[in-house]
């Protein structure tokens, strides 16, 4: 993670969601305009409400995007992994960041100021299309989660969150898939709109049922299938088709 060479970064960007379809020469250009920033665990990249003046791509590690409610309780909107972009709205004058971004573990990000972003967009019109695609995807995902929150019960939402995390940061280990991210009960609660108590209870139950194993900030899904069944509210396994 330390001996990162420019060519690695070029490859990362080429694979990422924002700069794809740019040829390597252009990527090198783009990269030249970036500033790399190293963050320690839990460092803040930008804060909700601040004027959005820079656009950012994770080059290593991971970011957590959150929003805070009135009385201090947070909501996790999503995690941003290597190659992924965030703060696309930094393109405009006058906008504020709608979320706070914090590092999950040691993390490095590439940042571009607004001017640089606009310059890039002008030079590479394909980027505009990528931006739109990216935003559409995010929008769809949040809408989806909104619907879930509005219509599903807690267990189902937790199952969905876990399934997503497995897909996003799952790592095969023996006995199952590890969610490769320090993930506390509190975190899961903030992802699903519930409390750490309820999450704890639900996970305990699933552990009894052999669906997963969990420890301190650690979840290993041993039966992804069963989890999906719960997430999708399929009658699977025992007839738990409640609602």
């Amino acid at each position: 993670m330390d001996k990162r060479r420019p060519s690695d970064l070029v490859e990362l960007l080429a694979r990422g969601d924002f700069f794809r379809d740019l040829d390597p020469a252009d990527l090198a250009d783009v990269l030249a305009a970036a500033r790399e920033r190293r963050l320690v665990d839990d460092a803040t990249v930008f804060r909700e409400g601040e004027p959005a003046d820079r656009f950012c791509v994770v080059s290593a590690g991971r970011l957590k995007l959150t929003q805070l409610g009135a009385d201090g309780n947070e909501v996790i909107l999503r995690f941003v992994g290597p190659g992924e972009a965030t703060a696309a709205l930094a393109i405009f004058e006058g906008a504020d960041y709608p979320v706070t971004a914090r590092a999950v573990g040691p993390t490095t990000v590439l940042e571009w100021g607004r001017d640089a972003v606009q310059e890039m967009l002008r030079r590479h019109p394909a980027l505009a299309v990528n931006t739109v695609r990216l935003l559409s995807g995010r929008l769809r995902e949040v809408q989806e989660r909104f619907r879930e929150l509005a219509t599903e019960r807690v267990a189902q939402r937790i199952a969905r969150a876990l399934v997503r995390l497995v897909r996003q940061v799952g790592r095969k280990v023996d006995g199952g898939v590890l969610i490769d991210l320090p993930l506390s009960r509190q975190n899961l609660a903030e992802l699903t709109g519930t409390t750490l108590f309820t999450v704890s209870r639900v996970l305990s139950k699933w552990e009894e049922l052999g669906i997963l194993e969990s420890g301190r900030e650690r979840v290993v899904v041993t039966s992804p299938h069963a989890l999906v069944a719960i997430a999708e509210d399929l009658p699977e396994e025992r007839g738990r088709g409640k609602r």
Copy 2:
């Protein structure tokens, strides 16, 4: 609403969120590529899951965007008024509509096929920026509502929904502001992730308190101030600062 002339439409688009910053000549061009479609109340423009092949701007009336959950219960994502665009993702090949759009009352929309949209984008790069701005705005709004749903209680959410509706479709009448849209308890429930029963109870209480007057599919806010206070959880009025 019937004797709509092209010049009216040009003006509508110029004021709308998607085509702003185009000059009238270009707008006429753009308009020439559109198809106008008249819809009766509750007619479907497009359905969740269908391949997204057309982009659309409301020219008169209003659309309701919904998503359905597993067992038939719906969620209302937002209303789309005259001049507003929707289905921006129709720009891409292969995407499906993530929501269903239905007319609220007699409505007319302008539609463009994907090819036409891409042609427009190519000819008028400013449109790409508008698209990004538009999507950013939507994203921020949904994220906001997600946070509310995750952290706030029902009454507060209903207050917020009403405040938004007042801003969006409020019409001054004597004694307050009418929400100019047939709005049933069920609708409010689908906007706020609750049930029509709870909405009914809450509205009754507020009616007693003199905050609003409501009838069949009709809400007149008589004290917007009080409603905002509830929405923002300010200590306002009586000391009801629960939570």
